[in-house]
Point group: C2
Chain length 533, copies 2
């Protein structure tokens, strides 16, 4: 992996000087075209050995390009706002929008490498990280990004020489600290770990470029020309390359599916509802004030047909909590800033801090529901979204977030009744638009999309709970009860394990998941399920 960067590459001053003007002009030209098209975000990772010229390389890129369309993010210690969210949150919030270049000094590779050298994670865990990274980077590429990963390499002797040269020059001596000298000692283990991780993450979509860091001129010119060629290549292909996807194949011999099997006649009388509501709201109120919850957080996802009662259910949950502890995020069309980012970006930005709750009224599943049915994205886009969504939820769960997802199912007849009722009440009329009536015509397409969604994203750790919602009382209680049970299971699992250990949490999610999915798959059988238990 590193051999080709130990050759002793050099570039003469003359050759460098001769090449810079054309390179600079071409880079600026490419940057301008990129900005004008606003289709591609450019993600540039500058990683490598200490003293191999990471900072210098970034500065040279700024000299050559227009700094107004570049941002550089240095990731050292996470801030407290970052520490209280999944590890990838800080990178998501720093992604460049389409048309711009984001340079990452330090990246999602830094912490796995550090943790492995320090012996905090096993080789197997490192491999799992590599797999996560590959999926993340593939997602970026499929969302249209150009991902360029540079590894600046030095031999051990080379590193020692570089540090000596830097510290003997008064203009650069400040850059060399004891910390850098200490790193010389870990040279071999860094080489080993980085070599391993680079090999696993050297994907076709986002390959590594290893550059010899010894000679400043050689290194700068190489990075510049690779960047230029990649930008030009990206500009030449008109669009994002679609992911390799298998077409959706579906054989259903008896016409039954998870939705048709739901018993929509489930109902709950007002008196019983009132008692159950008080009971489960009280329970929820206790759970989110539980000291163990302070180290966790909760993400509730609500999906359902128009007028299925998402808003009402959310109000019943909200009423059990202190307003300072939760946020309700209604999801509508993405804003301009959100459209310039990968489709999951607008959900990452609303993730809760520890001890807090985020409730989403419609969610990241819009990609495989409305966007799929209405043709707002290509087939390849929504087909790959299932995996991306599973990865997203996995990252939340891994960091200690409890993820609970509800699909509220009503019949077509019930929906019609509710639409008509709404039109009679002034302050509810706004909820019914022409679009809602249009959506009704695509009822069948939506049902198909929902079944596919449940099939592909009801995972052990983040199962879907399908809610029979023709009766609002019944639906609200089922939702509150499920939510309480899921939180309780997660808190118990984290208490049983070592603190808020992510691994034990996963086991809990999976267990309660099996219960829930049985609940939805065999709903007709479970008359016992009538909110009595």
């Amino acid at each position: 992996m590193f051999e080709s960067a130990e050759i002793g590459h050099k570039l003469t001053k003359t050759a460098y000087r001769d090449a810079v003007p054309a390179l600079r002009a071409a880079l600026l030209q490419a940057q301008v075209s990129l900005f004008e098209k606003r289709k591609t975000p450019v993600v540039v990772l500058i990683s490598g050995q200490d003293g191999a010229g990471k900072g210098e390389t970034i500065n040279v890129l700024y000299e050559w390009m227009d700094p107004r369309f570049i941002s550089t993010l240095a990731f050292s210690q996470p801030s407290d706002e970052e520490r209280e969210r999944p590890p990838m949150w800080r990178f998501w919030r720093s992604l460049p929008p389409k048309g711009r270049v984001g340079i990452f000094a330090g990246s999602w590779y830094s912490d796995p490498i550090r943790a492995r050298i320090a012996g905090e994670i096993s080789l197997k865990e490192l491999d799992a990280k590599a797999e996560q990274i590959n999926r993340f980077e593939a997602m970026l590429v499929h969302e249209g990004a150009l991902v360029l990963k540079f590894w600046l390499h030095l031999t051990k002797d080379g590193q020692k020489r570089r540090l000596k040269t830097l510290s003997s020059d008064p203009r650069t001596a400040w850059r060399v600290t004891q910390w850098n000298w200490d790193r010389l000692k870990t040279y071999d283990s860094l080489q080993e770990v980085a070599g391993h991780l680079l090999r696993l993450t050297n994907t076709a979509a986002a390959p590594w470029v290893v550059v010899e860091g010894t000679d400043d001129l050689y290194r700068s010119m190489t990075v510049g020309q690779v960047l230029l060629a990649a930008l030009q290549g990206k500009l030449a292909t008109s669009d994002a390359l679609p992911a390799t996807v298998a077409p959706m194949v579906r054989v259903n011999l008896d016409g039954r599916n998870v939705l048709s099997e739901l018993d929509l006649t489930h109902a709950l009388a007002d008196k019983a509802y009132k008692d159950e509501l008080a009971r489960w709201q009280g329970k929820l109120s206790e759970l989110v004030r539980d000291p163990r919850f302070l180290g966790r957080s909760l993400v509730c996802a609500f999906e359902g047909a128009d007028a299925a009662g998402k808003g009402g259910a959310i109000r019943r949950i909200a009423a059990a909590m202190d307003a300072r502890q939760y946020q309700v995020t209604p999801v509508a069309a993405p804003t301009e800033e959100e459209r310039a980012q990968p489709h999951l970006w607008r959900f990452w930005r609303h993730l809760p801090r520890r001890g807090h709750v985020a409730i989403f009224d419609r969610t990241w599943y819009g990609r495989v529901l409305v966007e799929r049915v209405e043709g707002f994205c290509s087939e390849a886009d929504w087909l790959r979204a299932y995996g991306e969504i599973n990865d997203f939820e996995h990252e939340l769960i891994e960091s200690g977030i409890i993820v609970v997802k509800f699909w509220l199912q009503i019949s077509q007849a019930e929906q019609l009744k509710r639409f008509k009722d709404r039109e009679k009440v002034a302050f509810k009329r706004f909820k019914i638009t022409q679009e809602d009536w249009r959506n009704r015509e695509k009822w069948h397409d939506y049902q198909q999309a929902i079944c596919d969604m449940v099939e592909r994203t009801s995972t052990g750790e983040a199962p879907w709970t399908l809610v029979e919602a023709n009766d609002k009382n019944y639906a609200r209680i089922k939702i509150l009860r499920t939510l309480c049970q899921r939180i309780e299971a997660a808190l118990q699992a984290s208490a049983a394990g070592a603190g808020s250990d992510a691994a034990s949490d996963k086991a809990c999610g999976s267990a309660s998941g099996q219960k829930d999915s049985k609940d939805s798959k065999g709903a007709k059988k479970s008359k016992r399920d009538k909110v009595k238990q």
Copy 2:
């Protein structure tokens, strides 16, 4: 102030129950109209005595309204990202966009009250805070916001009784901690400080509503009805009420102004330029690595006619710093999310953390330049903007940020030459648009706007530096030199004072400001100014 809230107001359960349905329907209706118009952000402050029902009131509002269009922000300890920016940053980032309600549990009043009770600030300093708050709230109101400030009041005995009641009920006992009991001891000083601050901030644009907190039903119903009436009132008036502004009056007997007095023939030969460039870039590089700079930060504002050389000057500054330390923010038309906020919001979001540098290529002065000249905002809007901008910069400086502002002036003939040059170079052609040619036709209007801007916003603490920019060499060196001198003066002032004491910093800003404005006002005289010093 508080007498009317010590009457022992009560509401019977029956009266409450009878009134709630109509209130709720009307609140929802108002909320919907608000959201549909998307003109008004609603800022609701819930403040007051501990135990007076702040949390309960917020929860009741959520019960009555649609939680999807409300967000509640609790401000306790600032996060580290917040601590490293001006105190108001955390409130700016939490402002609700137009069409939504933002409830502030804790607000910009909390810290001044706390600090005064603790004896950390003098009464005079508290009064200065009140003045700042009034200006901030007036800005919100003029930008279209509805600002509602509730103070929930209890008598001393009433507070003791409330705490006892809360702690004797198992459902609410968790809410009463030792901290609350301790607060009983500070009742009198809180009353005194809050009474003083409330009186000073009881403005016509954003008055306080003091509500007796003893009886839950009375309190909730009062807050709900005040909110409803305010929303309905706001919905009835079609637009934001304009600020009271004096029309711009200008008498100029001899036709001379700060721009006409600039000597645009200033020039610097290439050889001298090269030497000076190395000198000042070296100096700048040292200054931003100075340990004293770690506790400060720098905001550079660049304004100038099209093709005046802002980009080139910014590149020369950027080249002296590490890319990880600065961000260049090019300012174009605001995005959708930015348009839903007060005009300064999009600059607040880009403020640097401590030890960092933010360079703005075009700035918050767009309001009094392009928006004024092109009629993108009303006359009242840009006339009040001068004061709002001065307040904004004052808050930055007060928190230790060094603010340096450059206006790059070129002649009309020089601009024409540069436009034509640009059209010849492929990667510069994008910089020239039809709009640039149109802007040239309004040259005179822009010159007038610039003179007004300098007159009203070149303050002692944040002076404008007018740069004769027909010669790029001369302009770049003047900018670099000024920047270094301003940073150096600020660092010396903070070293001379008590650490990074804001007061001493202001003195420094003012001193260097007088120098700078002399520099611009009497530029013709200062041939000595030819970058030799």
